[in-house]
């Protein structure tokens, strides 16, 4: 444990009570989410030769209709909203924000992830249906950003959920987030067999 600083012993003032931080049940709240290995369900149904065709069609449909969950934490959320608006329209790529986690398949973690918010993020990640992706937007979500020295801030969202695309910047410009989403689309096209 940290050694408590021995106060300058001014005999009149009683010793300052030693400062012992008590963290309660925090360390098991921050355990990472276990990632279920999913195999493409439709591949069982379809015979061999059609599978490659089905993979490309379904991967293309997943790529072109990514529905992110409106999930803004801090300043990056303002730039994320800016990306949805008319100047950098994300609707062109079929990306429309959706309020509920059940119907969305991308979680854009935009902003500082604190340890008080971590269980909520894990719960939301588990609520999303299966072919789901995570974009960690901004320096705070990637590795704590400017708040690395403070212990209440989780040093990166990939400590609790698996992340597919990291978007640098604090806050990243709307074009940077746009590039991150296009990178995710390319990634979906490449690994089209794996995700169920």
């Amino acid at each position: 444990m940290t050694d408590t600083p021995t106060p300058a012993a001014s005999n009149t003032a009683p010793a300052v009570p030693p400062y012992i931080p008590d963290f309660g049940a925090e360390s098991d709240r921050l355990r990472p989410v276990e990632r279920p290995v999913t195999h493409a369900a439709y591949r069982i149904v379809l015979p061999g030769v059609i599978q490659t065709g089905a993979d490309t069609v379904i991967a293309m449909s997943r790529k072109s209709s990514l529905w992110p969950m409106t999930f803004g934490l801090a300043c990056c959320a303002i730039e994320m909203i800016g990306t949805f608006m008319s100047n950098h329209d994300l609707d062109r790529f079929g990306i429309v924000p959706w309020p509920s986690p059940r119907q969305s398949d991308v979680m854009i973690v935009s902003g500082t992830v604190t340890k008080k918010m971590a269980p909520a993020i894990k719960l939301l990640y588990e609520q999303m249906p299966n072919p789901k992706y995570v974009i960690s937007m901004g320096a705070c979500a990637t590795n704590g950003g400017p708040y690395t020295e403070y212990d209440r801030v989780l040093q990166g969202v990939d400590k609790i959920i698996p992340v597919d695309v990291y978007v640098p910047g604090c806050p990243p410009r709307p074009e940077a987030l746009l590039d991150g989403l296009l990178a995710l689309q390319r990634k979906i096209m490449e690994e089209k067999k794996m995700i169920g």
């Binding site: 300043c75 730039e79 608006m85 008319s86 100047n87 902003g111 500082t112 918010m117 909520a120 020295e149």
Partner: protein, 383 residues
């Protein structure tokens, strides 16, 4: 299969014909209407809100602890990320605090540039409020789009002047980082004309709309005395009819040389708060125009600033009229290049502490609108 929650069975009204149980709704940390990570647990009897328990702290990033761990110029990055809708207002407040503690003078031209930049940020933040409030009331993003058209233009102007859209760290203790570009005045007047046009559109879209008026007027009226008692400041207290604005009550920087009025509402209800913010944007635009006419030449940064800023035995409580209310910075310096203690009096934090009294007794849909009318920014609430 039980829909009724066992753990939160608050009060069961027996004996009135059938037993009704109050249901608690968790307007959770992730919710489109909470503008970020704010959670409030509403105890609901049917549609009426019986009790509301706000939970904050989901974005507590240790602003004050990090201000003690970094020296004066490094800590600026944390301070403009508090009110991330109007970064430059926070920078101005922080730098004024450092200057008061180290009694550093600021050249005249830098004061004018600071006022122009903070008024632009105020318009920017109020546009975000108009957009978000329209979405809360239900206009499905159309108000967002109109508001964002102007925000992007203001961001472009800020980027031309200060280098970055949201957090340029452009204001420095002792002045401003660099001078304005040459075509700034023409660009600024063009942006102001588009701001007027944006206000005209949003005014027509929302204020003139009978459903919007029907839903917002007469919702949680607040009297001036209760507003002072709860510690509400900014547009919240001006909506109650009390013309109190720190730029006029305790003028700082060059606000005493500029003529502008303070718009006030009548009963302090949600519609008045909306209209006061809408009217304030006109006043901010007028302030910018006067500043553009009166701006003198000269230096923008105090030349006698040491490379390593050391302040010993300074203490101050600087309060600035932020976009959400009184944005106060308390600073205590006891030697060395790091502050001993910096505290932020955040307006959204104080406005939010009165949420419970405003929300109880209304419908769930109204609770969301009242929260929207507070116009809170979570970076500021959780420090």
């Amino acid at each position: 299969m039980s829909i009724w929650p066992e753990e939160h069975v608050a009060t069961a009204h027996h004996g009135e014909g059938f037993d009704t149980v109050d249901m608690t709704i968790n307007v959770g940390p992730q919710h489109p209407a909470t503008h970020g990570v704010f959670r409030m647990v509403l105890t609901v009897d049917g549609e009426m809100v019986v009790d509301c328990e706000p939970y904050i702290g989901y974005l507590h990033r240790g602003l004050e602890k990090l201000s003690e761990a970094n020296d004066y110029r490094q800590a600026m990055g944390y301070w403009d990320r508090t009110d991330y809708l109007a970064g430059l207002v926070c920078e101005q407040a922080y730098c004024m605090a450092v200057e008061k503690m180290g009694n550093i003078e600021v050249p005249e031209r830098a004061e004018y540039i600071r006022v122009i930049m903070s008024e632009l940020s105020r318009i920017n933040s109020h546009f975000m409020f108009l957009g978000a409030f329209g979405a809360d009331v239900g206009s499905f993003g159309t108000s967002f789009i109109y508001a964002w058209r102007e925000r992007e233009r203001i961001y472009d102007l800020l980027e031309e002047v200060a280098g970055d859209r949201m957090f340029p760290t452009y204001v420095r203790p002792g002045g401003v980082a660099m001078d304005l570009p040459e075509n700034f005045e023409a660009r600024c007047r063009w942006v102001l004309s588009s701001v007027y046009q944006g206000l005209e559109d949003l005014d027509g879209l929302l204020t003139g709309n009978e459903i919007f008026v029907e839903r917002c007027s007469g919702l949680s009226p607040v009297s001036p005395e209760t507003a002072i008692k709860w510690g509400l400041t900014g547009p919240m207290i001006r909506a109650t009819g009390l013309p109190w604005d720190i730029r006029k009550a305790e003028p700082y920087s060059i606000y005493d040389r500029i003529k502008f009025e303070i718009p006030t509402g009548k009963q302090g209800d949600v519609l008045d708060r909306f209209i006061v913010r809408l009217a304030e944007m006109y006043q901010s635009a007028k302030i910018i125009e006067q500043c553009l006419d009166q701006i003198p030449g000269g230096l923008v940064l105090n030349p006698k600033l040491p490379r390593n800023l050391r302040i010993d035995n300074g203490e101050c409580y600087v309060r600035v009229e932020g976009t959400k209310g009184e944005y106060g910075v308390y600073g205590l310096a006891r030697g060395g290049n790091k502050a001993y203690r910096m505290k932020l009096r955040s307006p959204s934090f104080c406005n939010l502490s009165a949420l419970r009294e405003m929300v109880v007794g209304n419908y769930v849909a109204d609770a969301i609108i009242i929260l929207g009318s507070l116009d809170i920014v979570l970076g500021e609430v959780d420090k």
